[in-house]
Amino acid sequence: MSARKKRVSLYDQVKNTLNEIQGSTVPSYQGLHAFWLDPEVFLNASLYGQRLIAPDPNESSGSGSHGATSNGGSCCGGGAKPAADSANDENPVTNPAVAAVMQPPTETFIGDCWPSGGSGGGSGGGGSTNQRSAASAIIIGLKGQYPFDGSIFPPLLWDTDKKATTQQIELIAGWIDAGCPLTIAEEDDAHSGAKSLVEVRNDMLALAHGEKLHKASDAKTNHTTKKSKALHIRKEISNLTPEELKTYRDALSCMYTYNDFWQDERSFDFWARIHTNSCQHGWEQFGPWHRLYLYFFEQKLQDYDDSITIPYWSWSEYADANKTTFNNTQYDLGVLPDAVGCFLTAEGLITLKEAKGANGKSLYSASQISKLESIQKKGTIYNSGLRFLKAAGIPYEIINNNGEAAWAEKVRTVYNVLRKDNALWFPNRWPGAMGNPTTYPTKADIKNLLSLETWSDFGGGPSYDHHFGSLEKVHNGMHNFSGGTNPNYPANNKKWEKIYADLGLTPDMQSQENPQYGWMTDNRVTAFDPLFWSHHSNVDRIWAKWQELHNGQPEELNGVLAPWSMTVGDAMSIKKLGYKYVRHYVHHQVSTDFGLVKFNSEKIKVSKSTLEHHKKLEIKIHRVQRGNLPNASIRVFLNDPNANIDTPTQGNEHFVEEVSLFHGSCYGGPGHCNLPLDKTRLNDHRNIHHHEPRNYIIDATKTAQKLLNDGAKDLTVQLVTVGIHGKPIDNAVFIEGVSLNFLD
């Protein structure tokens, strides 16, 4: 009945494709002739100096970078040697001062770091360049790219009128990127690791029986959520993994490179200007407008890498550290999350060491270099560039550039390096007091905010009764705190009045490089500071939290939130917009190859701060699939590694909850009981499929709090499957994952 076609190996398909394109006449190909027919030749030979198939990057010298994810900005900053180094060597005075702020102070950008669907119109993909296929002459040649664009060689194949189609090229590229398997067996091997099948099977059995501990996934949070078809998660900025933080920074760095192109949506400044032009403040559209603003910016970031979400800056977390900074008359003492601070990398240190002044001598003195070395070695993170300069013993100096205050070269060079090393750092930022003591929001303040009963109090009034909501008022203060006051501005500092006078400069509050206040304080330019996004992510989170607790909503749900064609009503649900806020997220992938008897996690890696501060702990069981007929329950425990079917649930402080599964038998034609296809069609508006695996969310807050209060230092999770008959059962429950969601 099922007349399945015989499977043809990829390599045979490649050979057939090339044979078909070439036809009957085969030219010399430098004596290789039909090179694709002999794998030895195809894999190793070069055609006029062009390696037909690039060497396997895993086999050649382990340059190490291969482990990095292959999508996203692979070419950003790498590869092309900047031919226009001179841009950095130029006397800073000849640069417009604004460039250092508005543009990436990194090296002059060559090429395109933004991923795309290719150039379109037949020439085939741009996209990622670190794939093996992209470096292979056979692919470059079939696509007709340089040097096979006719400039040195004609496109491949030669001496035939047939051109390869995009699909044919994709097929060959896919084969190369799959490691050039020559047989079906090799294709299949490529998927399994080094372990033998028996070993793998034994491991999986042990895991399914709780005899081995499940490790937490080290994939990016939003890669695991995508895989388990869950909402994207915005995390607290200090809880991003180093890899997540790097991706976010890389995306911003990439966006900075397009800032010269005013209408290019990939440009960071394009997004910052939307705030300048359209932001809503002081009434009920404040929350909804900024929710959509972040949503659209985040969508753009996800074009760069779909794991990116805008992390939130939970102000109150940092309240203790700021006890003495905000409520103070001294400037530039505030503490921000480390992720947005400035620090010196080894590479940055080299740049500074090699920096030469106009006189050709080293820009920095020996003692400054030695301080920089020490800063780099210690890895110290500073909350402002000014504090960094101070630590390095480099005086903050301003010059007169055509009547504008501009950083002296020593300052600019440092700032360029800092910005390159951390795209989240921003030079016009002096967090702390404004010279006018106010309070920093504490946890109690946020709690009070969340306890407000009405939308009017919390979120503000409509246009005909407009007033600030309390959320926005707190938000205002944090804008001012994070931007802060420039200690080196004449109005703030007598000494600087004299410096300006000596330089013949007139103080300009809105100066590009030496303004009176940090840019976060000014709604005209605030979104140019990358901290803006995390600040507003937190505003949005508090509102979302308030929405969970209260029913209030804006008066005018039909108001349109320009420049988008969406309304206030459209902004009411963050879930509909595809995300939620989770302070910290730990995921365990579970195999569905074996029925789950017991799940037993390793110790959950989570910061002490999260263990202390989280408000809620949810355990989510992802995509539960059931065996046919036997119903079952899953019992959830914390910190009870030996839990089994006999472990008591009553009076057991480790016991969280028992969830009962309910379903009957599945009966239908062949394949009826299989999992449904992924829902990919844009216009598929049907309800959730009967056999779509479902999720369970279990509130483990109380259990966890009790254990932690009793002195537990870590958490572990156990699930035990119990058959409907009360006995162990190994073919009733199949799950794809278990995650712990620490919520604020």
Partner: protein
């Protein structure tokens, strides 16, 4: 204006006409390397055979009179390019529709779809030779000393100096006014003129009418024709007349005071007439009105008139196309895959601003991974010397054949075209030998291989063994010719085995794969380069049609285009020392070129230099000196002379034969190799024979035809002496000193 207007360009960028002395019988300039000229009718419309192929000319003289050489016309076409990416373009048609800019005194420019109705072509020819400086080899290449001698030095008054320029004024012709004459007002030929602005007077300057032996009252004429709806311009040059205001005597190969000739050059511009329909309102009534307007062709051209090409199919060792290509590759990012900055693609090599150009010129270099094509870029050079055995006898005594292309020869095509395959490279040593004897650009004053590693004591001579830009004087000697830097780079890649034999790859089975120029060009750039490939590209002492000025990047507006200067009618520039007397216009390369500026360096009259450029004995004793005077201080040093080094065997034949079984004879038999012969050449140029090729590939031979023995006597075999004349040898050296 989101939509782009059409860019129009005239092709070829530099066209070449040639002198002749027939009345109306002429042919069109060849547009392919080593190809015969194109036959045409009296209007210049090309002839096509039944198969649609161009008919070629193989008779270069009047069929009834061997003392009448047909002129070669330069033909110009206008191509339309739809946008910046369009590199192919299409020749425009009368009645064709293009996007023109329409602008009036009161409206802003708009883009309209206009229909071509006619084309106004404007050409301005002039001859500045007599008004210019003396040609003194390389001296002047980078500006002239104030004391550099002028031709006709006694004429120092600026207005009189300008009278030495032959300047008939510009002419505008179109389909409606289709004939123009660069003739003196009042002459018979001027009466044929139907050009557009006849009534506008112009302060023409012509030589005195009594110059001898031949007066000059025209520099040529223009014809506009229409063929297959294409409107084309035909430019014809002078009649080959040269004359002197004094008793005609030739005393020097390039500088002869009192003399004039009718060589010329100048800008070619065009304005396209078009019409379009536009809605207009007459009161409240709407009506369609036809509006006539015009638009200048944005990228204009140049025309140069040269002397006859007596061996039209014989390729010069370096063609003008190759000479200019080398410059454009190195200075204008013309082919970044050859010369540029890594990764050598177009995107990385498109400097725009001055600063970007400077950076580019500093950083760019040859691409070590460039693979030249054997037939297009290597063999085209290497096969040439073998053909010179039909215009020059390499070795009178030994009769050896150093350029043999057959099996076992130094230039065995089969061996040299073999690319390394599968790690095997059996012909590497052969290629290496050829590359080692190719003269590098820093060996231009060396006669033999200088490499100390050469295995034997007998060092071979460096190739090409041809005269250089200055084998004559002691100012900046440049004794021998070297191939261009780019050609040497191709050879180096080839020597290393980095080359492609296109005939066994993508052109496999194509019968033209060995001659990439076998088909007439279809693109504008193809025409530009095809035309130049039949022009002499070196050495320049002073050269064939044009001189070393082509090496100066300043004269180009873009690759293959001469930059047009703006100039005052009737006040063309004169040498600076004279111009400064009353503030007249002096030359300004940065501004561009004027009529006459491309040919003014060439010898006057051209016949003198042409006759003398046969062979030269070169003193190779010291690299830095062409002339040494050992006698003057009794220096016992041994003087080394390289004897009989030819100049341009393809441009100025020396020894020819009339058929496979005929003996070799002097081409210029009957005209002695001395100043008297130079003077005789002023008349006898029209009696000389032409060389026509027969056979293909290794069997291609060139034989003389159409020699006027009635005027010159029977040809003389080398070794024979006729009336005490030494025919084969040049006397340039003695002239110069």
């Amino acid at each position: 204006m989101s939509k782009a207007y059409t860019t129009f360009k005239i092709h070829p960028g530099i066209g070449f006409a040639r002198l002749g002395n027939t009345e109306d019988d002429f042919y069109l300039c060849p547009e392919q390397l080593g190809e015969l000229p194109i036959a045409c009718n009296e209007l210049g419309q090309e002839k096509v055979d039944a198969n649609g192929n161009l008919v070629r000319v193989s008779q270069f003289k009047d069929s009834n009179d061997l003392s009448k050489i047909k002129k070669q016309a330069a033909r110009f076409k206008i191509f339309a390019y739809s946008d910046k990416e369009d590199e192919v373009g299409e020749e425009i048609k009368i009645g064709g529709t293009y996007d023109f800019i329409y602008e009036t005194a009161v409206t802003a420019p708009t883009i309209v779809k206009g229909k071509v109705t006619d084309i106004d072509w404007t050409v301005h020819l002039a001859n500045k030779k007599a008004s210019w400086y003396e040609f003194q080899e390389t001296n002047g290449m980078h500006g002239y000393e104030p004391s550099h001698p002028l031709r006709n030095p006694e004429v120092t008054q600026p207005d009189l100096r300008r009278q030495l320029i032959i300047d008939p004024g510009p002419l505008t012709v179109s389909l409606k006014h289709s004939r123009g004459e660069f003739a003196k007002f009042g002459t018979d030929s001027k009466k044929r003129d139907t050009s557009k602005f006849q009534k506008v007077s112009y302060p023409q300057t012509f030589p005195p009418s009594d110059i001898k032996p031949n007066p000059i009252d025209t520099l040529g004429s223009l014809i506009v024709n229409e063929q297959d709806k294409h409107c084309r311009l035909i430019v014809l040059g002078g009649n080959g007349n040269s004359g002197s205001t004094k008793t005609p005597v030739i005393s020097n190969f390039v500088n002869n005071n009192g003399w004039f000739d009718d060589i010329s050059d100048g800008p070619v511009t065009a304005t396209i007439q078009f019409s379009f329909k536009q809605k207009q309102y007459d009161g409240k009534k709407e009506k369609m009105v036809t509006i006539n307007s015009s638009m200048d062709v944005q990228v204009p051209a140049w025309v140069v008139v040269g002397y006859p090409r007596y061996a039209p199919q014989m390729q010069d060792m370096i063609t003008m196309d190759e000479k200019m290509y080398d410059l454009f590759v190195r200075k204008f990012a013309y082919d970044p895959q050859v010369f540029g900055v890594a990764p050598y693609d177009k995107a990385s090599n498109s400097p725009q601003t001055e600063a970007e150009w400077e950076t580019w010129r500093n950083d760019a270099d040859y691409n070590p991974d460039y693979y030249p094509k054997f037939y297009k870029e290597i063999w085209t050079m290497l096969h040439r010397p073998d053909s010179y055995r039909y215009s020059y006898d390499f070795d009178y005594f030994a009769g050896s054949d150093p350029h043999n292309r057959g099996t076992g020869g130094n230039l065995d095509e089969n061996a040299l075209s073999q690319v390394p395959k599968n790690g095997e490279d059996p012909y590497f040593r052969m290629r290496q030998f050829i590359y080692m004897i190719m003269r590098q650009t820093d060996e231009r004053n060396d006669y033999v291989v200088t490499n100390d590693d050469w295995p034997t004591n007998a060092k071979p001579r460096l190739m090409p063994m041809l005269c250089g830009n200055n084998p004559l004087s002691n100012v900046s000697p440049d004794k021998f010719l070297s191939m261009t830097e780019t050609q040497l780079f191709f050879l180096k890649q080839w020597m290393k085995g980095k080359f492609v034999n296109e005939c066994e790859e993508w052109n496999d089975g194509d019968k033209n794969c060995k001659n990439p120029w076998a088909n007439p060009p279809t693109t504008g750039v193809g025409i530009d380069r095809g035309v130049l490939s039949n022009i002499l590209g070196g050495a320049f002492c002073p050269g064939g049609e044009i001189s070393w000025i082509v090496n100066n990047p300043a004269i180009y507006s873009e690759p293959y285009r001469i930059k047009h200067a703006t100039y005052l009618a009737g006040a063309l520039s004169i040498p600076k020392p004279i111009a400064d007397i009353d503030g007249s216009n002096a030359p300004n390369l940065a501004e561009g070129m004027e009529p006459g500026d491309m040919t003014k360096f060439i010898g006057i009259p051209w016949q003198a230099d042409f006759h003398e450029c046969t062979t030269q004995d070169l003193d190779v004793t010291y690299r830095g000196w062409n002339n040494i005077y050992l006698d003057s201080d009794g220096d016992p040093a041994q003087q080394d002379i390289a004897y009989d080094i030819p100049w341009w065997p393809a441009h100025r034949p020396i020894v020819v034969s009339e058929g496979p079984n005929s003996p070799q004879v002097y081409w210029a038999s009957g005209i002695p190799a001395n100043n008297a012969g130079d003077l005789q050449m002023v008349e006898a140029w029209k009696d000389l024979g032409f060389l026509l090729a027969t056979g293909e590939g290794i069997h291609k031979a060139f034989y003389q035809q159409e020699r006027n023995n009635d005027a010159l006597g029977d040809p003389v075999t080398p070794g024979d002496r006729v009336l005490g004349q030494s025919i084969g040898k040049s006397t340039q050296e003695t002239n110069n000193n």
